[in-house]
């Protein structure tokens, strides 16, 4: 069967679900952050395949802007994680439940 649009749909769906699983499974804040990047990339892949499908360059510009926002987000997010490590000497997210007490 030649590759068509449904293959790209299923592939990016699978990558997105793996990202969700990683976010729910792990306790390391950096790994959770990396799984969020994985989900962003799966959505990018789907947008590019639809741009190819409909011969529309606007979708690829959207992917470009998603990459821009992801780069800014990573800079701020990693700064927050470094600050948290400096305060509590750990990147375990289970320590961050002080609002409960």
């Amino acid at each position: 069967m030649p590759v068509n649009s449904t293959h790209y749909l299923f592939l990016s769906l699978l990558l997105f679900s793996i990202g969700i699983m990683g976010t729910l499974m792990r306790r390391n804040a950096i790994i959770i952050f990396m799984c969020i990047e994985l989900m962003l990339n799966s959505v990018n892949l789907l947008l590019v395949s639809f741009s190819k499908l409909f011969a529309d360059p606007n979708a690829q510009i959207f992917v470009f802007f998603i990459m821009v926002v992801a780069a800014a987000e990573v800079a701020v997010g990693l700064a927050i994680i470094v600050m948290m490590y400096r305060k509590v000497h750990s990147v375990d997210i289970n320590i961050l439940n002080r609002l409960k007490h």
Binding site: T6, I30, L38, A75
Partner: protein
């Protein structure tokens, strides 16, 4: 099975396998290296769809800049498999089940989508001459706003990551 299909299946297997490696490996450094491989295979998908501009941007921005930043932070914190916090078996199983259920629900929702062959005739969509014209004709304002976003993100990262003084300076200094 032609070359396009063979490359598609190969790149898909690499990306899914390395994505599983990201969430399953104990050592955070291995996770980062697996994620780099995943991003490289996704870049391979882009070049397969002839999105050359996004291919090179993905390679430079994601694997070149973002993942190296992750690697630096992990090596700065000296994390390894021994100090890696682990969730209980039950919580991990619940995570896998809920992720799998989400996958099944979305799969059932898009299962009936009619398969359309990826158009191989429109080859010049992703070239930089075409995308540059669209970017600077229709998307000039978002492009300029994104530069402001980058500036604010940079200032925010510096302010957050700055080492706090143990005692606040007197207001005169």
């Amino acid at each position: 099975m032609n070359l396009y299909d063979t490359l598609f299946w190969f790149l898909s297997a690499v990306s899914v396998g390395c994505a599983l490696g990201v969430i399953l490996s104990r050592n955070p450094v291995n996770s980062v290296l697996f994620l780099v491989l995943t991003f490289i295979s996704i870049s391979g998908h882009y070049i397969l769809m002839n999105a050359q501009f996004l291919f090179i941007v993905n390679l430079i921005v994601y694997t070149g800049a973002i993942m190296v930043l992750f690697l630096f932070v992990i090596m700065l914190m000296n994390l390894n498999a021994d100090v890696e916090p682990q969730k209980g078996q039950l919580v991990q199983l619940a995570g896998v089940v809920s992720g799998g259920v989400l996958f099944l629900v979305l799969l059932a929702a898009v299962k009936t989508a009619s398969p359309v062959p990826i158009d191989k005739a429109s080859i010049d969509i992703g070239l930089i001459t075409n995308l540059g014209k669209v970017l600077f004709k229709d998307f000039v304002l978002p492009f300029e706003i994104s530069s402001v976003l980058f500036l604010s993100a940079m200032i925010g990262a510096v302010v957050i990551g700055k080492k706090e003084e143990s005692a606040p300076l007197p207001s005169g200094e």
